[in-house]
C-alpha cells in the first residue's frame, strides 16, 4: 500500500478521473407569498409549491411570553397545548381522532414572540383539516379536567427536561444572562411553582386577552392547484371572530455577558455539556448577514474552525456548533438573538477542550477568516437553499418566522443576495463581535469534582458551582 498521494499506489486500481466541473446552475428563488387579509382581520400568506402534496399551514398568534401574568409562567404553553383538547364541536379524544383520520398533525407551542400553531395535511384533506384548526382557534373548549391533566403532565415533564444535559444548560444560561425581572431569564414553559398555579380560568383569560384573528397570521404553503383556498378559508379561519387590539410594546432585552463560568454539578457524568453564549444582533440589524456568515465559519459544520480542532484533530467531541437563534426581533431594534457555542466533550478533556476553544476564538480575532473560508461558506449557505426549501413545511416555517419577527415577506430572498455581497473582513468582524473571547457566559453541566480545577486554570472568568438538577 502506497503512502504517497498518488492514486497509482492503489491495488487493483480503478480508473481515476479529474474532479468534474460544475454544470450550469438552474435558477431558483425563495418563493414570494401572496399576501391578503380576510374580512375578520386575519392576515393570510399563501404560496403555491407544485408537487408538494402535504400542505403546511402555520398560524402565528401575537401572544408572547412576556404577556403572561406575573407568577403564571407557562400559561401560554398550557393554552397552546389545550388548543388540541376539544372545541365546541368535538371533545378532546374526538378532536384527536378527527385529525388523525385526515392524516393530519396539529402542533402548537409558545415562545417569546408568540404562539405558533402548525398544521400539516395531505392536500385532499386540507379543507377538513383547516376546519378543525379553525375550531381550535375560534372555539377551544378548555375543559377543566383537560387543563388539569395538561398541568399535571407539564409538571411531570419538568424533571425529564432537567435531567437532559443540553436542556439543563439552556435553562442555566438564561438564568445567568438575563435580569431576574425579565421573562427571558425564566424557563419558557414555566417552573414547577408557576405551572402549579395554572388552571382553566387562567388559560381562558390568557386566550381572551391575546388570541384574535386581527393580530394573527396564517401561512399556507403546498400544491394548491385545484384547491379553492378562498372558499376553504372563508368557511374555516374566516369564521373566527374577535375584537381588534392595540399592539403590545415589546420591552428591550438586556443581558449581563461579563465573562464567567457556572458548573452545574453532575457527579459521575461521562461528558461535560458546554453552552457558551451571550446576546447580540437579530435579523433587523444590518450586520445579520455578516454575522450569519462569520458564525457559520466558526462553528456551522464539522469542517468549520471549532470542529476542525475539537473533533477532527483532537477527538474531544462528537461535534461543537456555534449559532445565532433569534429570541425576538422588531423593527424598532428592541430584539436580540442568542449567540452561542454548544456541544459536549469527554469529562477528562474538558479543560483542554475549553482551552482549545478559546484559542480558536482568539486566533479568529487576531488573524481573521480567510477568503477561501468565506467563499466556501457563502457557496454553502446560498447554495443549499433549494434543498433546504424542498418541502412545504420548510417554506411555511421560514415565512412564519418572518411574520413573527416583523420582517418583509421577501426577507429570505434578499438575505441570499446580501450574503453573496458580504466580504471576508465584514464576516470576521461580525463573528468576533458576536462571540468575543472575554465576554462569554459559560455553562458546564458535568462532574464538578473533575472539571472545576482545570476550568479555573483557564482564566475565562470566575467559576461558580451549583448543585442539583
Amino acid at each position: 500500500m502506497s503512502e504517497t498521494e498518488a492514486p497509482a499506489g492503489v491495488q487493483s486500481s480503478m480508473d481515476f478521473h479529474p474532479q468534474p466541473r460544475s454544470g450550469t446552475p438552474k435558477p431558483w428563488a425563495f418563493p414570494t407569498p401572496e399576501r391578503g387579509t380576510l374580512p375578520n382581520g386575519l392576515t393570510v400568506l399563501r404560496c403555491h409549491r407544485p408537487g408538494q402534496e402535504v400542505v403546511a399551514v402555520e398560524v402565528n398568534l401575537l401572544a408572547p411570553l412576556d404577556a403572561e401574568p406575573e407568577g403564571l409562567d407557562g400559561v401560554a404553553t398550557i393554552m397552546a397545548r389545550a388548543l388540541n383538547e376539544g372545541t365546541d364541536k368535538h371533545d378532546a379524544e374526538e378532536f384527536a381522532a378527527e385529525l388523525e383520520r385526515c392524516g393530519a398533525t396539529l402542533d402548537s407551542h409558545a415562545d417569546h414572540p408568540g404562539v405558533r400553531v402548525s398544521l400539516e395535511v395531505p392536500v385532499s384533506r386540507l379543507p377538513k383539516a383547516l376546519g378543525l384548526m379553525a375550531d381550535a382557534l375560534r372555539a377551544p373548549a378548555f375543559p377543566d379536567s383537560e387543563i388539569e391533566r395538561l398541568v399535571a403532565n407539564r409538571l411531570d415533564e419538568i424533571p425529564h427536561e432537567l435531567a437532559n444535559p443540553a436542556r439543563r444548560a439552556a435553562k442555566e444560561l438564561s438564568h445567568e444572562l438575563f435580569p431576574a425581572e425579565s421573562r427571558m431569564s425564566r424557563p419558557r414553559q414555566g417552573t414547577e411553582e408557576t405551572v402549579r398555579g395554572i388552571d382553566a380560568a387562567a388559560v381562558r383569560a390568557f386566550y381572551e386577552a391575546h388570541v384574535r384573528p386581527a393580530t394573527a397570521t396564517a401561512v399556507v404553503v403546498g400544491d394548491l392547484e385545484g384547491v379553492d383556498l378562498d372558499a376553504a378559508l372563508t368557511d374555516t379561519l374566516g369564521a373566527w371572530k374577535g375584537s381588534t387590539a392595540e399592539p403590545r410594546p415589546m420591552p428591550p432585552i438586556s443581558a449581563d455577558d461579563s465573562g464567567r463560568v457556572v458548573i452545574v454539578d453532575r457527579p459521575g457524568a461521562v461528558q461535560t455539556q458546554l453552552l457558551i453564549g451571550r446576546i447580540g444582533a437579530d435579523r433587523h440589524d444590518r450586520v445579520w448577514p455578516a454575522q450569519l456568515l462569520g458564525v457559520y465559519c466558526l462553528g456551522g459544520t464539522l469542517t468549520s474552525r471549532l470542529d476542525r480542532v475539537l473533533r477532527e484533530e483532537k477527538g474531544y467531541t462528537y461535534g461543537v456548533r456555534s449559532f445565532g437563534q433569534v429570541l425576538r426581533s422588531t423593527p424598532e431594534g428592541t430584539g436580540a438573538a442568542m449567540l452561542a457555542i454548544s456541544g459536549s466533550v469527554a469529562t477528562d478533556v474538558t479543560g483542554p477542550a475549553l482551552a482549545d476553544l478559546w484559542q480558536v476564538l482568539r486566533t479568529l480575532a487576531a488573524e481573521g477568516l480567510t477568503d477561501e473560508e468565506r467563499d466556501v461558506a457563502v457557496r454553502n449557505l446560498v447554495g443549499v437553499a433549494p434543498l433546504r426549501y424542498e418541502t412545504a413545511a420548510a417554506v411555511a416555517g421560514t415565512l412564519a418566522d418572518q411574520v413573527e419577527q416583523f420582517l418583509p415577506d421577501d426577507f429570505q430572498g434578499q438575505l441570499y443576495a446580501r450574503l453573496a455581497e458580504t466580504g471576508t473582513v465584514e464576516a470576521t468582524a461580525a463573528a468576533v463581535n458576536a462571540l468575543p473571547a472575554d465576554r462569554l457566559v459559560t455553562i458546564l453541566v458535568g462532574d464538578a469534582s473533575q472539571i472545576a480545577d482545570p476550568v479555573r486554570e483557564l482564566g475565562i472568568g470566575e467559576v461558580k458551582v451549583v448543585t442539583g438538577g
Partner: protein, 439 residues
C-alpha cells in the same frame, strides 16, 4: 375497507434499474420540480456482519469513509459537497450502511465522483491517525447519545434481551467502548476489502436529472472499480416468532421518573404481516387518539408519555418498542396491568373501522413525508433494492399498507403482542438527587 384518505401520492413516481458490468446496481428516478438531485449509496453491510469482539466496527468504518481517499484529501468530501451547496451524511444500522448527498442539480457529477473515489480507493488514504481520531469521535458520540442521557441505554438493553447471545442483532450498531478500543487499522482495512465493493452496493440517483447522463456518469466513475466475491454473509438471523417467555430487567439509575419499556418480536419486514403489525402498533400507541395514550395518559393519568414504535428488520424479527414514562408516583405494576388489558382487548376485538382508517391515514402520511424529498426517495429506493431485491417495491409500499384488513391487524396483535413474546425493561429512579438550585 374504511380507508378514505388521499390516493397514494406515489402514483406519479417511476424508477428504472440498471446494472454496471462490475455488479453495481444503479436506480434512477426523475423529478424536475426542484433543481436538486440526491445521490444515495447503500452498502449491504451493517452491525449484523460484525464478529465477536469487534462490535461498532461497521459504524466506526462509516466515519473513516469521510477521512479522505486517493483524490480527496482529509475532510475534502465534506468540504467539497458543502462548498457546492450540498448536504451530506452517512448512517449505520443493523442491516446496512448508507451514504448520501443532496446537491443542487448542476453539482450532481461531483457527488458521483466523490462516492466513486472512496469506494475505489479509500485504503490509499486510511491511516492510523484518522483511525485513532475517529475512534475518539465515535466514543464521544456514544457518550453523548447513550451514556450521558437518562434512559440512553434502554434500546441496547432491550435488543440484547430480544435477540439472544451470539445472534447477529444481539448488539446495536454503536458497539461497546472496549470493542471500539480494540479495533485496529488492519480490522478496518479488512472490513473495507470484504464489504466495500460495487457488487455489494446500490446507487440511487433521484431528482432533477437526465437519466442517460446520470447513468453515463455512474459508469464513468464507478464502472472501473473491480467487484469481488469475498463478502461474508451475516450469521443467520432467523428466530422463532415467539420468544416463549417474558424476559425482564429492572434498572436502578439516576433517571427522572419510573419507566416501563418493552420490546416485542414482530414479523420480518417485507411481509404483509409486518404491515399488519405496523397498523396494530399505530392503533395501539401511535398518537394521541391511540388506545394506550388514551388509557394511560388521558384516563388513568399514570403516564406522562406512552407510545409504540416499530423498527422494521429484514434479516431478523422486527422490533415493536413500547415506551411508557410514569407520571408522579404511579407504579409500574399498575401501568403494566393496564397495558396488558389493552393489548388483550385489542387482540380479541381488533381495531374498530375508525381506528383502522386513522392508522392507515397516519402511515400513509409518514410515507408521503418520506417520499417528499429527493433524498428520502433515494433512500427508500436503495432500501428496497438492497433488502428485497426490487427498488420498485418502494413505490408501491403505501398501497400494501392500505390493503391490509382489520382481521389481519387483529391477528398480528393476537399472535405477537403477548407477554411471552417480549422483553420488559423497568427503570426505577434512585432517590438521592432531587434538590434543585438556581430557580
Amino acid at each position: 375497507m374504511g380507508h378514505t384518505a388521499t390516493p397514494p401520492a406515489t402514483g406519479g413516481l417511476t424508477a428504472t434499474e440498471h446494472r454496471l458490468a462490475n455488479g453495481l446496481r444503479v436506480v434512477l428516478s426523475e423529478d424536475h420540480l426542484t433543481p436538486v438531485a440526491a445521490v444515495c449509496l447503500w452498502y449491504d453491510v451493517g452491525s449484523r456482519h460484525e464478529v465477536e469482539g469487534r462490535t461498532g466496527l461497521a459504524h466506526l468504518f462509516e466515519h473513516l469513509m469521510f477521512q479522505g481517499s486517493a483524490q480527496v484529501k482529509g475532510n475534502g468530501h465534506f468540504e467539497l459537497v458543502q462548498g457546492a451547496g450540498g448536504s451530506l451524511n452517512g448512517t449505520t444500522s443493523f442491516e446496512r450502511t448508507n451514504y448520501f448527498e443532496t446537491m443542487p442539480a448542476h453539482e450532481l457529477e461531483l457527488a458521483l465522483w466523490l462516492e466513486a473515489d472512496r469506494m475505489g480507493s479509500l485504503l490509499s488514504a486510511l491511516d492510523e491517525e484518522s483511525m485513532d481520531n475517529q475512534r475518539d469521535v465515535v466514543k464521544n458520540e456514544r457518550r453523548q447519545r447513550y451514556d450521558n442521557v437518562p434512559y440512553g441505554t434502554a434500546f441496547e438493553r432491550m435488543t440484547a434481551m430480544v435477540f439472544p447471545e451470539g445472534h447477529p442483532y444481539h448488539h446495536t450498531p454503536i458497539g461497546s467502548m472496549a470493542d471500539l478500543d480494540a479495533a485496529s487499522l488492519e480490522d478496518a482495512r479488512a472490513f473495507f476489502r470484504t464489504y466495500y465493493a460495487p457488487n455489494n452496493a446500490v446507487l440511487a440517483i433521484v431528482g432533477d436529472i437526465d437519466p442517460e447522463q446520470a447513468l453515463a456518469w455512474a459508469d464513468k466513475y464507478f464502472g472501473s472499480i473491480p467487484g469481488h466475491e469475498g463478502k461474508q454473509a451475516p450469521r443467520d438471523g432467523d428466530l422463532p416468532g415467539i420468544m416463549g417467555e417474558e424476559k425482564r430487567e429492572v434498572v436502578e439509575e439516576d433517571v427522572p421518573s419510573r419507566a416501563m419499556m418493552a420490546a416485542y418480536r414482530l414479523p420480518q419486514d417485507g411481509t404483509r404481516e409486518a404491515d399488519a403489525a405496523d397498523l396494530a402498533l399505530t392503533a395501539l400507541g401511535g398518537g394521541e387518539s391511540s388506545r394506550l395514550y388514551a388509557r394511560l395518559v388521558r384516563h388513568d393519568r399514570t403516564a406522562v408519555a406512552a407510545g409504540f414504535g416499530l423498527l422494521r428488520l429484514a434479516g431478523a424479527p422486527s422490533l415493536g418498542w413500547l415506551d411508557v414514562k410514569a407520571s408522579g408516583g404511579a407504579e409500574v405494576a399498575d401501568i403494566q396491568a393496564a397495558v396488558d388489558e389493552e393489548l388483550r382487548r385489542f387482540a380479541e376485538e381488533g381495531p374498530t373501522e375508525e381506528e383502522m382508517e386513522r392508522a392507515q391515514a397516519q402511515l400513509e402520511r409518514e410515507w408521503l413525508d418520506r417520499l417528499a424529498t429527493v433524498g428520502g426517495r433515494a433512500d427508500e429506493l436503495c432500501r428496497y433494492a438492497v433488502l428485497f431485491g426490487d427498488p420498485q417495491l418502494a413505490l408501491t409500499a403505501v398501497g400494501r399498507v392500505l390493503d391490509v384488513t382489520r382481521e389481519e391487524v387483529r391477528a398480528a396483535a393476537a399472535e405477537r403482542l403477548r407477554p411471552d413474546n417480549r422483553a420488559v425493561l423497568v427503570y426505577e429512579p434512585l432517590d438521592n438527587n432531587d434538590e434543585e438550585t438556581g430557580q
